[in-house]
Amino acid sequence: MNTFTQNTTEIILESISDGVFTVDHEWKIMSFNRAAEKITGISRKDAIGRHCWNVFRSNMCQDECALKKTMQEGKSFFSSSTYIVNNKKKRIPTTVFTSLLKDKNGNIIGGVETFRDHSLVEELRKKLYGRFQMGDMISRSQAMRDIFKILPKVSQSDSTVLIIGETGTGKELIARAIHDLSSRKDKPFVAINCGAFPDTLLESELFGYKAGAFTHATKNKPGLFAAADKGTILLDEIGDTSPSFQVKLLRVLEEKVFLPLGAVKKEKSDVRLIAATNKNLSKMVDAGTFRQDLFYRINVVQLKLPPLRQKMEDIPLLVDHFIASLNKIRGKSVSGIDKTALGILMTHDYPGNIRELENIIEHAFVLCSKGDITKEHLPSTLTRQSMIATEDNFSQFPLKAAEIKVIKAFLKKNNYDRKATAKDLGIHKSTLFRKINKLGIKLPKIDGRFKR
């Protein structure tokens, strides 16, 4: 390289906004450009001659060093899920590109690492993402976004809230979000599953007991109402409580006092109550299995969480969210999910809702360490389910076969107009799409909406 070219290269390296450093075969830094100084906060003088891991300080340095892989395999590598920790204890998200460093004769003399500060991109991404996020909940669906919109006001009101939703829809997450957005946020948040305890145990858990209240009660034990003083308590599965417990709870709500087991003096209660259930409480009131007065008392603000099958548009968003958090927790670098696998997830019904989806992704993480999650990484029950309804095995699954036949007939009748077919079948358009995908019905390349 002549002097002119060398100077030009140096000028370019100094003027670009990407950090660039080079290392020798002993992993010691040989050069460190101006952007590298700016991003890491380390001067060139301090960096040169030091081991790259002590300067760059990335989460990849220890086990997944891209530069090491480049030196071993002679190939370039790109990584997008990395961060460095600077001397101000700040994590800086970065992307990294590595390649070999050769002299003019083509001999390998070390490696080059180019990195880019992604803090701004990350910040913008979070803001964009934040539109669909509240606390630890994430959703693009209109129903959930409506809840997100009113949640700050609900939180500040201090009213009792009733959360209704199937298992796994995130009732506890929403209760926690209400607590975190309220003026009680610095006080405890306590959750208890009422359905898990028999009556007397539930009472002692909630209200506590005094020494001598029963055999083995050797000392006073404060209950959860005392533990959550000035905070929030979530009574999950409230529909599973007995009528006698319901009376006691009603008294706490009305009089703002509770009586620990074996006590003679009532104790004051300053706790915000959030109740949750997967049951239809108004039907239970009609049937006489849930007290009407308690129902009215807890049903001040009602939040209804839709099941996942009614907000299938959330699946890609949730999958990305779970992949990102599991990558962090498990120290893996799974990049995403491929189209086939996502297609399978989109056709499942999710009786276990978001929790079930989370478990499916966790299952995939056991089998997949990097790259995309594929069909092979999904639980076999899911992939089997997506296969059973193919037209090749009609005889084994007569019900599915009948369903395929009916849908196909109605599609044909409506000239493959999906909207009209759904209307004819008396189901929602999205349900029809789901069934078409799940049953593996092949559609011709015409769309009935655009008749010639």
Binding site: I42, A47, N54, R57, Q62, V85
Partner: protein, 117 residues
């Protein structure tokens, strides 16, 4: 007194947040005793400071650490000595002798007055 160091082979892990092994050593009468290794993942520890306290750790020596973990650990009773680099044995021997780890083992670009271990 129990001292813990996040290690990577013979050296101190460059980043605490992604460290996977904790070396725990008992220091008695200026000598290292009962050296043990524990697999460790800070991202998985729900109550990091409590976990470390339960192990009886009084001092934690580590490399670069992010603010969230640093605050968690320092909020407890553990003394944190961050931004340390180098060979684990050399660092521990120096610590036992009472020699200051800073600036001798301080990571590049970290000023002494900032860390004050």
């Amino acid at each position: 007194m129990k001292v813990a160091v996040t290690v990577w082979d013979e050296r101190i892990s460059p980043v605490f947040d992604s460290a996977r092994t904790l070396l725990i050593v008992d220091i008695k009468n200026d000598k290292m005793k009962n050296i043990s290794y524990k697999s460790f993942n800070p991202e998985l520890e729900a109550s990091l400071a409590e976990e470390l306290s339960l192990l009886g750790i009084k001092v934690l020596i580590c490399g670069a650490i992010s603010q969230a973990y640093s605050t968690l650990i320092e909020a407890g009773t553990i003394q944190l000595i961050p931004f340390i680099s180098g060979n684990v044995n050399e660092v521990l021997e120096s610590y036992i002798k009472g020699n200051p780890l800073v600036p001798a083992f301080l990571m590049p670009g970290c000023r002494e007055e900032e860390e004050n271990p």
